[in-house]
Amino acid sequence: MQTATAPRAPIASGSSARIVGRTLGLGGRRGRRRKRWRPPKDGATFQAALDPRFATEIATEVEHGERLFTCIQCGTCSGACPLVGYMDHPPRRIIELVRAGARDEVLTSFTPWVCASCYACTVACPREIPITGIMHALRRRALAEGSYPSRFTNPVMMRELVGMAEARGRSTESLIALKAYLRTDPSQLWKHAATGLRLLRRGRMGFRPASMRDPSTLRRLLEAVGR
């Protein structure tokens, strides 16, 4: 669902008008101003596809999640979000989509995977809605369903880190990065090779998988906790 290729321009430059323009897909090289025609949206279809239980499902599995029903759509979360420019839906709209029950739209959105878990939104929200927690809940569902963006490193990195942590009791940064890049974008390995080597030489990176002395104590606990 990515928009047309945008050039690797310097950071958000220009007035609000230009930002709006670029977001809406206007502007580009040589002053060509053409939008791509999209198939029509139908209000009845949209309404019928909503899942009225979705919001409650999400609300009950996040601590203080029921506060999402008190959202007044003020947009402070989006305003505080450092990565909102990369999201297809800003955090505010994600909450509204969750509340409306637009399950498919939300679980296929890039937004939860762009989220850096910085909690700026959670701290900015005047209703104290646990927005980051809700993003994590959406990630869990997307992972479970397999509907996460395939070329993003984030979902793979998270799975790897937690897999390692649960199996060996420790996570090894270099191995996580390695596996993640191999699966999503091997060219990254090339791009970071030089830095990797410097880190290696300075003793800040190793490839030996870290491990607890006795991971079974952890494993037993996790088993008892279940899923």
Partner: protein, 671 residues
């Protein structure tokens, strides 16, 4: 309809004839309690001669049932099983009185608040209702015949707070011929309104509409204006309050000073250097000052913490020389007055939210971030910049951002909406553009413009080209991510209607701070024996039907001290409070409770425990006979002496041991 069940039992001569009336209260009681069963049960109780049920006992026909039975001699004591004493004890006592017997031959059984509203199971509810009725019947059988007492209402009124609310209430009462004491803490009346430049939606000049009223207050023969004064203590009772008021020293005689301001000119401080409180710290004043030119009374004040004479004792004091009226008195001390009033109106106003509590908006960190009240002072022609809107470096802003809802609609600060900020922010948008030509951006969550002429005002501002962005501001920053942002403050907010985050570079940020209770609201409420709500505003008796009275008879509220509101609403409330106070005063008397204490001389051992305990000084002691006696005129029925008396000699009408025990027995017998 009414059902009567007259039991087949003759009443012994002299024994009480009790009528029990059980109310349905629509479905409020009848929906849970089996009213018919309660009536049947009541008819089996001793001394009950009549037991009836009715849909709404408090209505005219309902009360008529009681009165008729009394007139016809079927009953001489009344029990009503319905809501609560707070709701309708007075109503039914009056009905009982109209029926021809003592109004205190009445007892209420609360089967709504205490039963139907708190019990889910209908059987449990019915049983409990029966037990409470049995208790009331046993008790009322022992009630004495008491006459209602009236006490006179003192015709004077105290108004606390000299803002627009207090001013309007005082003038209304004074015009009605009542004597009013208007006590104001600051050295001038006028309140917050005196600080504003123009008011919405008419863009009337605030001073132009306020100062005539301020003058009228000063000139009115029926108003005693005490400024720079506080209420120190309040005692007494509705209709008869005793209030002590403290006057702080200005070091200038109010009766001599004409406000010519020559002393200020003459002061050894050639430059003003102390932050002016009236100008929200933006302007400067000297140790001797007047808050603003139209201050009422037009009397200067000396600040002893800044004045060199007070600090060091060494000053030639050219101010004394400059005063043609010889009005200075550096020896002045605090004085006190004790007054008696019948009614009190609290109009103590509000304070603005401290914007420093929200660091992400940059107040206190970036120099050109202002609060709305500070901007009012900039706009005001009598303000620190003579009405010019200037940044800290003296230049005019070319772009201004106004941030709505600062401190409001936020569970971390105040969950409520402060009601006035959208309107005043639109007003500031208009004023700032008019004054400076700047582009103005308003950042809001919802645009709240419900009053008369308010939506039209919103329309006007839209037509003028103000940029209204729907999105709560996340931060104000000086980080520049683009050349256009260099040297500016940047407001970052999502434009929710467009669905994109915007970074808007501005020169000046105005924070629309919300309204809060005064910082000493808790202390004030204790002084006057009223309550504060969860957010700290004074609590009205009923939010819909009694917005200007409190649960303390004789104490009324007006204005923002009761909750955030605009000027039209404030003035309306002030008029309402004045009217309710007037109603009390013109009636001339208040009905007092009959439950005063008395001493059974036979049992009194002369230990004098009660005498010192009485907070009203209502107990006299006869040294010769060594007996205590209660002065029933002064007694307020608090019950302290009754509880303290070791020999049980001190008792209370309507709360005798026998009555209370009878009630308990009634419950226990049938519970």
């Amino acid at each position: 309809m009414a059902e009567e069940l007259i039991p087949d039992r003759p009443s012994p001569n002299g024994a009480p004839k009790i009528g029990v009336y059980v109310c349905h209260c629509g479905l409020n009681i009848a929906g849970t309690v089996d009213v018919h069963e309660v009536v049947r049960f009541a008819s089996t109780l001793p001394y009950v001669t009549v037991a009836r049920e009715y849909k709404f006992m408090c209505s005219d026909p309902g009360q008529e049932l009681i009165e008729q039975d009394l007139r016809e001699g079927l009953v001489d004591r009344v029990v009503v099983a319905s809501c609560s004493p707070l709701m309708h004890e007075a109503t039914f006592r009056q009905a009982t009185g109209r029926g021809g017997t003592s109004p205190f031959h009445f007892q209420m059984a609360s089967i709504r608040e205490l039963v139907s509203w708190v019990t889910e199971d209908p059987e449990d509810a019915t049983e409990k209702a029966k037990a409470l009725v049995a208790a009331a019947v046993r008790r009322v059988a022992l009630h004495e015949y008491l006459e209602p007492r009236e006490a006179p209402v003192h015709p004077d009124v105290l108004v606390v707070g000299g803002g627009i609310a207090g001013i309007h209430a005082a003038l209304t009462l004074a015009d009605a011929g009542k004597h009013v004491y208007l006590v104001e803490r600051e050295s001038t009346i006028g309140g917050h309104m005196a600080k504003f430049d123009k008011t919405f939606p008419t863009l009337d000049c605030a001073s132009c509409i306020l100062t005539p009223k301020m003058s009228a207050v000063r000139a009115h023969p029926n108003i005693t204006l005490w400024t720079y004064s506080d209420v120190v203590s309040v005692s007494g009772y509705t209709g008869d309050f005793t209030v002590r008021v403290r006057h702080r020293p200005r070091y200038v005689r109010e009766d001599l000073c004409t406000g010519c301001l020559a002393c200020i000119e003459a002061c050894v401080h050639k430059q003003a250097k102390y932050p002016s409180e009236f100008d929200e710290g933006l302007g400067k004043r000297k140790p001797i000052y007047i808050p603003f030119p139209q201050a009422t009374p037009p009397v200067v004040v000396v600040d002893p913490e800044a004045c060199i004479w007070f600090k060091t004792g060494k000053c030639p004091r050219p101010c004394i020389e400059a005063c043609e009226r010889d009005a200075f008195d550096f020896e002045q001390t605090e004085t006190e007055d004790e007054i008696k009033v019948g009614a009190i109106i609290l109009a103590t106003g509000f304070r603005t939210f401290d914007a420093g509590r929200i660091p992400e908006y940059g107040y206190g960190r970036y120099p050109n971030v202002y609060t709305s009240l500070e901007v009012e002072r900039l706009l005001n022609s009598a303000g620190p910049t003579g009405g010019e809107v200037l940044l800290r470096d003296g230049t005019k802003p070319r772009t201004v951002g106004i941030i709505h809802c600062v401190g409001s609609r936020d569970v971390r600060f105040h969950a409520y909406c402060s009601k006035v900020c959208c309107m005043y922010s639109l007003k500031l948008a208009h004023m700032l553009r008019e004054r400076t030509g700047a582009e103005v951006y308003n950042f809001y969550i919802d645009m709240r413009t419900p009053g008369k002429g308010y939506e039209e005002f919103y329309d006007k501002i839209l037509r003028e080209g103000a940029h209204l962005i729907r999105g709560r501001v996340a931060e104000v920053t000086d980080e520049a991510t683009a050349p256009e942002e260099e040297g500016h403050l940047v407001i970052r907010a999502e434009d929710t209607l467009l669905g994109t985050v915007r970074r808007v570079p501005v020169d000046m940020v105005v924070l629309a701070v919300g309204m809060e209770p005064q910082p000493d609201a808790e202390d004030v409420r204790r002084l006057f024996n009223i309550s504060c709500g969860g957010e700290g505003f004074f609590t009205e008796r009923h939010p819909k039907l009694a917005p200007v009275s409190t649960f303390t008879d004789g104490v009324f509220l007006a204005g923002a001290c009761q909750g955030p509101k605009d000027i039209p609403e404030t003035v309306a409330q002030a008029g309402a409070a004045a009217a309710e106070a007037l109603a009390m005063i013109d009636r001339g008397s208040v009905r007092l409770e009959a439950n005063t204490a008395f001493v059974d001389e036979a049992a009194c051992s002369g230990c004098k425990t009660c005498v010192g305990l009485c907070p009203f000084g209502a107990i006299e002691f006869d040294e010769e006979r060594r007996k205590a006696a209660v002065n029933e005129v002064v007694c307020k029925g608090c019950g302290i002496c009754v509880a303290a008396c070791p020999s049980g000699a001190a008792q209370q009408h309507l709360f005798t041991d026998a009555q209370i025990l009878a009630e308990i027995e009634g419950v226990l017998a049938y519970a």
